[in-house]
């Protein structure tokens, strides 16, 4: 069971590369922010799977902390975005 979970862990890490593609190639600044938001949620999934494969329950604490900080960071970026204009 642990071996199959390790393979799934590699799949989840590979999904982050899609988000990195969107962060690097995004045509506008809003696309990069969408990529960053999704990246933060994927890391929570990595923490959850790691807590099973390493049998240590405190890794879930790191996951909850990541949720909170990612939420506040995205709100700050959105606030910055709504105060600017594209062609100025």
């Amino acid at each position: 069971m642990i071996d199959y979970l390790n393979i799934l862990l590699y799949v989840q890490i590979a999904l982050c590369i899609f988000c990195l593609y969107r962060i690097i190639r995004g045509p506008s600044i809003a696309d990069r922010m969408v990529g960053l938001d999704i990246f933060g949620i994927l890391v929570v999934g990595i923490c959850a799977i790691l807590s099973i494969t390493t049998k240590r329950s405190f890794i879930l604490d790191i996951g909850i902390t990541w949720i909170i900080l990612s939420f506040i960071g995205t709100l700050t970026l959105a606030k910055y975005l709504s105060g600017k204009k594209l062609n100025e």
Binding site: D61, I64, T65, I68, L69, I72, K79
Partner: protein
């Protein structure tokens, strides 16, 4: 600084207290689980930053808050130094020595003076991050006038 829409305001009212309690949990369990003073202080600062972002405020009120947080930061780092120097006078003759009883393994009151250091470092980091955030906002408000 203007506020955000009604959905963000309501969710902020619901979640800010829970985020503050989670920061305190990270600080007080710093010797049992990962985290500690710095990570918990960042989360506590996040609760206040969330309130300021969602509801907005005018410049005069922000300046008052900045004075208070700056004073809190200085007091907290002074108390950490005082706790370190206290070991010097209690007979152990070394800085940062453990002069409290160690307690039971795995309980919340154990590990001597390390939880005290964690608590005051948490307060110091939270006040410092809020001060930096407020300084950036006040600078931007003044530059747009």
């Amino acid at each position: 600084m203007k506020g955000m829409s009604i959905i963000v305001k309501k969710v902020t009212q619901l979640l800010s207290g829970i985020i503050f309690l989670y920061g305190i949990y990270i600080i007080t369990h710093g010797h049992l689980t990962p985290g500690g003073g710095f990570a918990g202080g960042a989360i506590i600062a996040g609760a206040y930053i969330l309130l300021i972002l969602a509801f907005g405020s005018d410049t005069i009120k922000l300046k008052n808050i900045e004075k208070g947080s700056s004073l809190t930061e200085s007091l907290a780092i002074f108390i950490v130094l005082l706790l370190a120097v206290l070991a010097f006078f209690l007979g152990s003759k070394i800085f940062f020595a453990n002069y409290l009883p160690k307690g039971q393994l795995g309980e919340i009151i154990s590990a001597g003076v390390i939880p005290l250091y964690n608590i005051f470092i948490g307060i110091e980091v939270a006040a410092a991050i809020i001060t930096i955030f407020l300084a950036l906002i006040i600078f931007k408000e003044e530059i747009t006038k």
